[in-house]
């Protein structure tokens, strides 16, 4: 099973574009990383993120329950992505590659 934190970060990133339901989140994650999360990992991450107040469910549509980022979730994912960008920048410079 994927690390809880990694799975939650991927779900948050997938939701940056707007509300999605479970299957669509996994498709977005596949576009980003080349592979999908396991179904258990995906719903575990969604449950955790909702408990932390980082995502919220919308009204059920055609037996699916789309979720979207809350304002707290947007802040958290922004901080997370900025931190990752800083790490990537330092790493690339260390390798002698100029970050894009």
């Amino acid at each position: 099973m994927q690390n809880h934190h990694d799975a939650q970060t991927l779900v948050l990133c997938a939701l940056c574009d707007g509300p999605l339901h479970g299957y669509a989140i996994n498709v977005a994650i596949e576009k980003m990383t080349g592979r999908r999360l396991g179904v258990g990992s995906l719903y575990g991450a969604l449950t955790r993120l909702e408990a932390k107040g980082l995502i919220e469910s919308l009204e059920e549509v055609a037996r699916t329950r789309p979720v979207q980022l809350t304002s707290k979730g947007r802040q958290v994912v922004e901080q997370e992505l900025r931190a990752m960008a800083r790490v990537a920048e330092v790493g690339l410079r260390g390798l002698g590659i100029e970050p894009a």
Partner: protein, 255 residues
Amino acid sequence: MRITQSLLRLYPASVRDYWGSMLETDAQTAGWRSWPNLVAAAVDMWLHPVIWPAASIRDRRHRAAAMALVVTVTIGIIGRVAAATDSTLTRHQRAWTLTDCAVLLAFGVALILPLPRPSRDAVAQLLRSAARTLAVPLLIAVGAAAFAQGAGPAELSSARPWVAACFWLALAVAAVQASRIVWTTVGSVVLTPPNSARLHLGFAVLIAGGTLASWITISAAVAGGGFDPLSALAGAGLLTSTLTLVLTLRDLRRC
């Protein structure tokens, strides 16, 4: 597929109900490759009841209290069995296990225990539920104790292991049933969970008690230059149970 549906039934009802057909459809679509991940995630969910979908923070606190009660019962039973069967425990360590740890655990339980709502109906419903589920194991425990008191020395010496096993098993069943009352719907309706400060303090005390019991049992397993696998196993069980309390406390702080 029937196997996928069976695996989904391993999930806590509130998680299953909340994600509903979306979870089932995704699991069916993923096919057999999703089975190990579904099982691992179901186990993970049961270890983290605080994060299950809930209507309010009060529900999350109630689940945390119920989880703490179940884990404390487990620690109590493992600790009691370890103390009774471990010949490598010194008298001093045994006394510690039975008194200091038990006192800490009892104090922790008193702190986390949900109290009945202040209404006659709630108390009556709780008493009915307790009478229904606790009467049989408590009667068996009292019967075993009465037999041990009343039997002659010859009669008692042959029956002692069975009477002791019966007594402790009945008490263990009673403790598990008491935890179930807190955990189930009846508990969530008629009981009020402790407030945040009391719950956090209760968890801290229980973690201290569990850690102390683990340390005593593990140190006894390697005492005197030898290695007692049964004590080591009991110590590992106590440590794992205590870790579950730590995880629940962490979840409580994050939600």
